[in-house]
Structure formats: structure tokens, C-alpha cells
């Protein structure tokens, strides 16, 4: 069951992005940035977490879930450290992903060439 909800909710977020892409002059970069920022804001309002409880990976895997992870890190660090948490929290959860991206990205660049 959770696979189906992940498929449907994740697919819906991507379809929404596609509709925006096909009907506006926005580039994919603009859309990725907007979705991440939207995920962060909705996370800060507590909305995204409730959505994620229902949608599972359908909420976590889109970049909006990445934006939400940024805020979740900030809020949990805020609780632990006070105001310093606002500055240390961004990579509390996402740091794992960002470092993975750098390590694997570099590895791939060393191993492969663009095929075109």
C-alpha cells in the first residue's frame, strides 16, 4: 500500500512540475529551485510533515522533500542549541545527501565521459 501512495503522490508532484514547464517559460532550474523553496516553507509551517506521514517516499524523494529536510534540520538543531541551530541545521539531515552527491558525482566524472 505505501508503494502505491508513494507512486501516486510522487508522480503527482512531478506531473505538476511538468505542467508548469510546458505552460510557462520557466527553465528546469527555476522549477527545481521553486519546489525546493516551497518544500522548505511548507516544512516550516508544519504542513509538509503531515503530508509526508501520508505520502512516505512520495514526499521525501522529490526536491520539495529535500527542502523540507533542510528545515527539519534547522528546527531540531534550534531546539537543541538555540539560535545557533538556525545556522548549523541546514546540513543536519541533508549533509548526508550533499556529501554523497559530491563524492559520487566526482567519482562518475573521473570514470565516465559525457556521451552526447
Amino acid at each position: 500500500m505505501d508503494y502505491l501512495t508513494a507512486f501516486l503522490t510522487g508522480g503527482a508532484i512531478c506531473a505538476l512540475a511538468q505542467i508548469i514547464y510546458d505552460n510557462t517559460k520557466l527553465t528546469p532550474a527555476h522549477i527545481l529551485v521553486s519546489f525546493t523553496a516551497a518544500g522548505a516553507v511548507l516544512g516550516g509551517l508544519g504542513v509538509y510533515q503531515r503530508f509526508a506521514e501520508f505520502a512516505g517516499a512520495g514526499a521525501i524523494i522529490p526536491v520539495s522533500g529535500f527542502g523540507n529536510s533542510i528545515v527539519m534540520g534547522m528546527l531540531s538543531e534550534l531546539e537543541r542549541l538555540g539560535w545557533e541551530g538556525l545556522f548549523t541545521g541546514a546540513f543536519e539531515i541533508t549533509g548526508l545527501g550533499v556529501t554523497t552527491a559530491i563524492v559520487f558525482g566526482s567519482l562518475m566524472a573521473v570514470l565516465f565521459r559525457p556521451k552526447g
Binding site: A15, L75, A101, F104, K115
Partner: protein
């Protein structure tokens, strides 16, 4: 620019609009839905696996996102992601695998200009803005929450 010129431009832009083929909106949205949905289903599978070994939900989330990012990087290196995106559109771009693709694709492309000023400097050419605005908007909303709840100090 005088008025006649402006009118000419407006008129021409109308002509261009009419001549430009419309994207196949239904098909594109359906493909994005299926592609994005499948990627999230793989994510759910990993999430369920990591849930067994990770102590908290935040950590399971972090590890799942990182694992998908690793998958995205490998798919990009093998030249598969470009193919997927041409068909799946935003269904391939919006998941974190797509975020990972922007980093790997830039790293592969700019490696030719050297590891420091090429790959190192330009790796985040597209992912950079995502991080910058994700963090800025996250910072603002978290700050507001902290101020309103009085938990800042």
C-alpha cells in the same frame, strides 16, 4: 524604440506563438507522472529497508535521500539519466535523483577544464541555486517560527 517598432514586435511575437508547435501536454504530464512515481516507489522500497536499521525517522529520511542521490549519480555516469529525462521530463528532474544528476552532469562536463577550476568550481552550477534558495527560505521560515514561539534564546 518607437511605437511602430513596438507594434511590429508585438505582432511578430503573436505570429511566433501561433507557429510554435504546442507541447503534447497530456502525454508529457502522464510520462512525468509515471517516471516520477516509479522513482518514488524505488525510494519507498529503500525507505522501508532503512527503517529496519535506522533509529529515527529523520535518519531514515536522510539515508533514503542519500541513497537515491547515489543512484542518480550512477545513472548519470552510465548515460542513462539523459535518456530518461528526454522521455520523463520533470518526472526525472524533480526527484532528488535529478538533483544529483545536475551535480554529476556538470562534474563530467567541466572536468575537461581541470579538476579545480573546472569540475570543482562548476559542479554546483545548477544545484547551487537549489541549495542557496532552499537554505535561505528555510532560514527565514525557521527564524519566524523561532521568534513567534519565543524559542530563539
Amino acid at each position: 524604440m518607437d511605437k511602430a517598432q513596438k507594434d511590429q514586435h508585438t505582432r511578430y511575437q503573436q505570429m511566433v506563438k501561433e507557429a510554435t508547435p504546442q507541447p503534447n501536454r497530456w502525454k508529457n504530464a502522464a510520462m512525468a507522472f509515471i517516471t516520477g512515481g516509479l522513482i518514488c516507489t524505488i525510494g519507498q522500497l529503500l525507505y522501508n529497508l532503512f527503517e529496519i536499521i535506522e533509529p529515527s525517522r529523520l535518519e531514515t529520511t536522510a539515508v533514503t535521500q542519500a541513497a537515491m542521490i547515489a543512484l542518480g549519480a550512477v545513472a548519470t555516469g552510465l548515460g542513462f539519466y539523459d535518456w530518461l529525462a528526454e522521455r520523463g521530463g520533470m518526472g526525472a528532474a524533480v526527484p532528488v535523483t535529478g538533483f544529483s544528476n545536475t551535480i554529476t552532469a556538470a562534474a563530467m562536463e567541466f572536468k575537461r577544464e581541470g579538476y579545480i577550476l573546472g569540475m570543482g568550481a562548476k559542479m554546483f552550477v545548477i544545484a547551487g541555486p537549489v541549495l542557496v534558495y532552499g537554505i535561505l527560505s528555510g532560514f527565514v521560515i525557521s527564524l519566524l517560527r523561532a521568534v513567534l514561539s519565543g524559542s530563539l534564546f
